[in-house]
């Protein structure tokens, strides 16, 4: 097998050799082509990475809450803005067979006064420390257990500066109530301008002035092996006047709300599409110019009996080779940008699927851009060789 690869490397198809030579023959054009592809790859990669990063940020609370089902006020569109429901739903839910545990959770926009007196808005997340459903999932400093004490809060280290908090023990004011910072979470971003701050359910009620017999959500964990869809149906029938969603459904609904009803996601997708358009235009132009430059050679190939497939082969190889080279460089640049932004306020995520999708998109973009060149050579009259 390796000897076959070695033979291919030493004796490649001549169409490959010709494609490579035609491409590197004009260095300036090669550079322009690669810049075009790299630009497109980076723009698409960063925009889609931002899109995925934002989308995951919007639903991170849901995705990490550890619940299978969420009970909420009907018509809730995202986790951050919802109406309250009666806490009786918790007990009703617990009475339904198949529910292993359930806990209340609130999220509420609330005023936050920094230790230095400045004002910010935060989203208070109140969870039940005894259950752990909805607890902060990454802790940098301090202990989640300490949130069980009344009048405590944990904030994320990303927002130390914004919230003016530098160390454990500092006193802030949330919703007009004194709160002591007992720890820092790590990398728990909020999609809105208002950071998430974690507190016990009881403290959060206090901070947010929500009536003590109310909650925003009831989070349910099912017994192992229970069918989430069936349980969801059973719960909504039993509880009435609430909406029950699986964790995945609520996650997608929240993502959709923030990404599309606010226009943020659309802007990112449009920017990515523009990257794609720029890539297609640049690559098709340079590839076409290369084809035109080498048209007499394509004519000669035609005359000496090369099949149409052989001619496309040369052009498609040029497109694929440009795509691979441009993608390689573009991915490197994208990863560097992601690394540089890691500690900033925005998350750019490039999961393996996106990287693979981007490669496929780059290949499609370049091969698609080869279309006009292919049209040109297939219409070539072999009689041109005698002109």
């Amino acid at each position: 097998m390796s000897s076959i690869t070695a033979a291919i490397a030493r004796f490649p198809r001549m169409s490959t050799v010709l494609a490579v030579r035609n491409m590197v023959h004009d260095r300036v054009r090669l550079v322009v082509t690669l810049i075009g592809i790299v630009f497109a790859v980076v723009l698409i990669g960063v925009q889609l990475g931002l899109f995925i990063g934002f989308a995951r940020t919007t639903s991170s609370l849901i995705d990490h809450a550890g619940a299978d089902l969420w009970i909420m006020a009907p018509g809730t569109r995202n986790i951050d803005q919802s109406a309250a429901i009666s806490e009786r739903k918790l007990f009703q839910a617990l009475a339904v067979p198949g529910i292993q545990e359930a806990a209340k959770l609130i999220t509420e926009f609330t005023l936050f006064k920094r230790p230095d007196g400045g004002n910010e808005t935060v989203i208070v997340v109140g969870f039940d420390p005894a259950q752990g459903l909805g607890a902060p999932w990454q802790v940098a400093e301090g202990d989640v257990k300490n949130l069980a004490y009344a009048g405590t809060v944990m904030i994320d280290e990303l927002y130390r500066e914004k919230l003016g908090v530098t160390r454990i023990g500092q006193i802030v004011e949330i919703g007009g109530r004194r709160a002591q910072v007992v720890g820092f979470t790590r990398g728990i971003r909020s999609f809105t301008q208002s950071p998430y701050v974690f507190a016990s359910f009881a403290s959060a009620l206090d901070y947010s002035r929500i009536r003590s017999d109310q909650t925003k959500y009831v989070l349910c964990r099912l017994v192992p092996g229970a069918d989430a869809a069936a349980m969801r149906k059973a719960l909504s029938e039993r509880l009435g006047d609430v909406e029950v969603l699986t964790s995945g459904e609520f996650s997608r609904r929240t993502q959709f709300y923030w990404m599309f009803t606010t226009g943020a996601g659309l802007a990112l997708l449009v920017a990515a599409l523009m990257g794609l358009a720029v890539g297609v235009v640049v690559v098709s132009q340079t590839l076409y110019a290369t084809t035109i430059d080498h048209l007499p050679e394509f004519g000669t190939l035609r005359a000496i009996g090369a099949s149409s497939r052989y001619l496309y082969g040369v052009i498609i190889r040029q497109a694929v080779l440009s795509a691979l080279a441009g993608y390689g460089i573009g991915l490197g640049v994208t990863l560097a940008i992601i690394r540089a932004s890691r500690n900033g306020g925005t998350a750019i995520l490039l999961p393996g699927e996106l990287a693979a999708g981007l490669l496929a998109l780059t290949l499609v973009m370049c091969v698609g851009a080869a279309a006009i060149s292919i049209r040109k050579v297939t219409r070539l009259d072999p009689a041109m060789v005698f002109k």
Partner: protein, 271 residues
């Protein structure tokens, strides 16, 4: 895929190419232009046939029809006994690849490929790959006297050397028929004559059919036959007996070979 050693195939007896009543009109209606009319022509293997005639007389058109590049608007073309005028583009392309080698006035080499790679490209088209492809390319370059120029690029070669590379490339497919349009026009007399001698050698020793379009009367003596066109018609078709050739085989062309070589040449040059 045809083997690169198709010369070992048995070529059917008779002419390599045979044209009957071939005509070619470019365009249609008022702008129609009749480039060829009523051409009957047989090209034999083992001979160098020169096509002459004034500019615009239809030489290139005729060569293109012989080479399955252009379709005639009238008449029949048989290549190795097979009717080809009605074949579709893909089939004609395959026929060119299998049977015909082309040589052009401007050499038409691939400037980004070395001499060896230029020949290898033609071998690649024939499906030959790997080490065998490289070895065969070197053999072919050797055959045209460029054994040491395999790594040179066209830009570094003289006109004559470039044309030799082009000939090596044309020979890659082991063609029964070699067609050249003004192959010596860009070369000086000596170089041009050497190229013509190479053609004569290919025809006589390797038994290929060779057709050369030329304006150059100084190389006529290297032909076996000179066909002259005027206004799209053949006005003269003269066979030149080979000077030191063994007795010509007894066939129909014997009659034409009677006239003395000198008389024929003088007449041709004068015309």
């Amino acid at each position: 895929m045809t083997s690169a050693r198709s010369s070992l195939e048995i070529v059917p007896p008779g002419p390599v190419v045979s044209l009957r009543g071939v005509g070619k009109t470019y365009g249609a209606g008022k702008t129609a232009l009749r480039a060829l009319a009523a051409i009957d022509l047989d090209i034999a293997a083992g001979e160098v046939t020169i096509l002459m005639g004034p500019s615009g007389s239809g030489k290139t058109t005729l060569l293109s029809i012989i080479g399955c590049i252009l379709r005639p608007t009238a008449g029949e073309v048989r290549l190795l006994g097979q009717e080809v005028a009605e074949e579709n583009e893909a089939a004609r392309s395959a026929l060119r690849l299998a049977h015909i080698g082309f040589i052009f006035q401007g050499y038409n080499l691939f400037p980004t490929l070395s001499a060896r790679q230029n020949v290898e490209l033609a071998l690649d088209l024939k499906g030959l790959g790997g080490r065998a492809r490289r070895r065969r390319a070197d053999e072919l370059l050797e055959q045209v006297g460029l054994g040491d120029k395999g790594d040179a690029y066209p830009a570094d070669l003289s006109g004559g050397q470039k044309q030799r590379v082009a000939i090596a490339r044309a020979l890659a497919g082991e063609p029964s028929l070699i067609l050249a349009d003004e192959p010596t026009a860009a070369l000086d007399l000596q170089t041009g004559r050497r190229i013509m001698m190479l053609f004569a050698d290919l025809a006589h020793r390797l038994h290929r059919g060779v057709v050369v379009v030329t304006h150059d009367s100084r190389i006529l003596d290297l032909a076996d036959r000179v066909v002259t066109l005027e206004d799209g018609r053949i006005i003269r078709d003269i066979a030149l007996p080979r000077e030191s050739a063994p007795a010509a085989p007894l066939d129909a062309s014997l009659l034409r070979r009677r006239r003395s070589r000198e008389t024929d040449l003088k007449e041709l040059v004068a015309s």
